[in-house]
Symmetry: C2
Subunit: 210 residues, 2 copies
Amino acid sequence: MLNAHGKDVHQCDSGWVPVYVDQEKSISLMSIGFLLERPDDAVVWRGPKKNALIKQFVGDVSWGDLDFLIVDTPPGTSDEHISTVDALRPFNPMGAVVVTTPQAVSVGDVRRELTFCKKMGLPVVGVVENMSGFVCPHCTECTNVFSKGGGEELARHAGVPFLGCVPLDPLLTQSLEQGKNFIQEFPKSSAYSSITSIAQQILDSATQGS
Amino acid sequence: MLNAHGKDVHQCDSGWVPVYVDQEKSISLMSIGFLLERPDDAVVWRGPKKNALIKQFVGDVSWGDLDFLIVDTPPGTSDEHISTVDALRPFNPMGAVVVTTPQAVSVGDVRRELTFCKKMGLPVVGVVENMSGFVCPHCTECTNVFSKGGGEELARHAGVPFLGCVPLDPLLTQSLEQGKNFIQEFPKSSAYSSITSIAQQILDSATQGS
């Protein structure tokens, strides 16, 4: 999605050097994908090995001076999540941005993730509803493919901010497929305004918190 | 999705009694969801506890005489997957039905899951492509919301059967939201024919294998 496949992680005196997506080094990346010999290799690891690597990704990477460190976790409330929260605790993390899709089965899962954040003492920055309606590019009618309003209701029920909806947008998928910069390429697309509004709210929340 | 929330698991002489979705006991269910006190409870478990429960779900549930045992796993190739394959190995499982969505990031993940199956000696029944195009109910034009053809290409590349595509279908979501029987309720919907065709191929594959 960030056009970084095939890049390598190098070692320096202060640890692993992350992969940079551009020459300005505006985004630094670290992923287990960069450490595999072949892109098809399966990482057949039980919890303890995953936990050790998460700790290394936080502590042994030469991140430099970052504005934000974003950890994209799998769904759930297990090893990856416990280890990430434990590893970041000394750095007083801003909190979790919790993403759901609108339908009840997804909202139910994410409700349990909010319970997890509470149990672990991790603040919740807010809830995002993804795959939220599809505007047909042929007739401009909107269809709620995966039901409607689940994310907003979840946020209200849990007493946390609702950050907004991101619609299903074929232009967004197309950008991600080709490793293009969606924000630059499609400023008029339906997902653009919702993504920038969500990002702005997270920035505002960071400024208030600091 | 099967209208079984709030039901309880009971104990009998031969183990846990699964939850039945209808009076004919045509489908028996077991899920950690039935063992939680409250539906919002998060299961904050590391691998070893999950592995022990998976073993119990296979060995300590009074399943009776089943035609098929279907295990719905999370994405990935970690504790849940290793433990499930290990627990089922003595029963000579038919294999994995591997589900992807069409776009490259998803296909890449699922390619690693096929490598996992190979490593573990688990046969692959076939690949299903989900969220495969959306037919607008207003104008009947089809949009490939998440790119196109990734599942079929993956199957060909891996040398395993391609079982078919399931389109994005709001009627399917609606049925699952309300716990209704989609096959009975919407025999004319776009997802109906693809789902029944995939099921038939799996049945055929089971008959050939036995």
